[in-house]
Symmetry: C2
Amino acid sequence: MDESREGLVDLVRSAGLRVTAARVAVLHVLSRHPHADTDTVIRHVRGELGSVSPQAVYNVLAAFVEAGLVRRIEPAGSVALFELRVADNHHHVVCRRCGSVQDVDCAVGARPCLTPSEAHGYVLDEAEVTYWGICPSCQSRRTTRPGALQEHR
Amino acid sequence: MDESREGLVDLVRSAGLRVTAARVAVLHVLSRHPHADTDTVIRHVRGELGSVSPQAVYNVLAAFVEAGLVRRIEPAGSVALFELRVADNHHHVVCRRCGSVQDVDCAVGARPCLTPSEAHGYVLDEAEVTYWGICPSCQSRRTTRPGALQEHR
DNA sequence: TCTGTTACTAGAGTCAATCTAGTTAGTTGA
DNA sequence: TCAACTAACTAGATTGACTCTAGTAACAGA
């Protein structure tokens, strides 16, 4: 997957950000682990680079979100999750048991894809849809892991 | 509003829970402060009862959510908010600046009100819609309060 | 290569939420 | 009405994601 490294470098630069090893590594991790939480990103970045401070990863993720390269989602009961898909306006389906997350294409595409009957004067720019349910693997294994609302690692 | 106290007591009892002063007070606070966070509930319950431990309020709220009396929502970047409206399947509009929350009626009513094109095998029971935008008062006062994503107190 | 600025490291700090052990108080049945 | 059983509350420590700050390292334009 090393030819995509070039693309990742360009992606960072095109956002007006300095190209650093940590930033490229974070993008690389997110490309292989969609909906990863910060801890998952840190561990995989360390696998690529050796030692990286948690704060560096927090900084990188915040800079990417700010620059629009990365989208941050935060399903109820979960820590922040990060994903590279930002161009489209897709939604998410979340498992109530294990917290696994999958993308769901938005039927409309453009934001906001839905309009409420009564917006109370709010100027809306996004309709975020989270589908809640039970994932296939939690349906088969009947055991509940309480408080395990986290991304599959 | 003391005649509704009776109703609140019945509500607690009908959920199979013991009736305590803390529980009735929490329901009373939530009836007057929809989308209140835990800290807001604690302060108002103390205003009614005198001293109540934070843990008691956490316990009460958790018991109510478990019993289906109270709904817990958690918009991204916000602490947990609680509301009494649980019978209908309504949604929320959240201000990106000040974090204020308003209810939005669901056009469909029954859960889940939306069905994704591809559910990835998940058995869905709820489609949670969060509309993001700028509330009327934040539109007029142009100042941004960074990190102020909290319920109006 | 030099230099200014941005990014990273390390370590302390914040805060919502949780856990545990001991005490208090609703509720049920005598 | 009064025990006795058990659920609920108090107090205090603890967790864990996330933030802040000061000092150091390294990217990028001149």
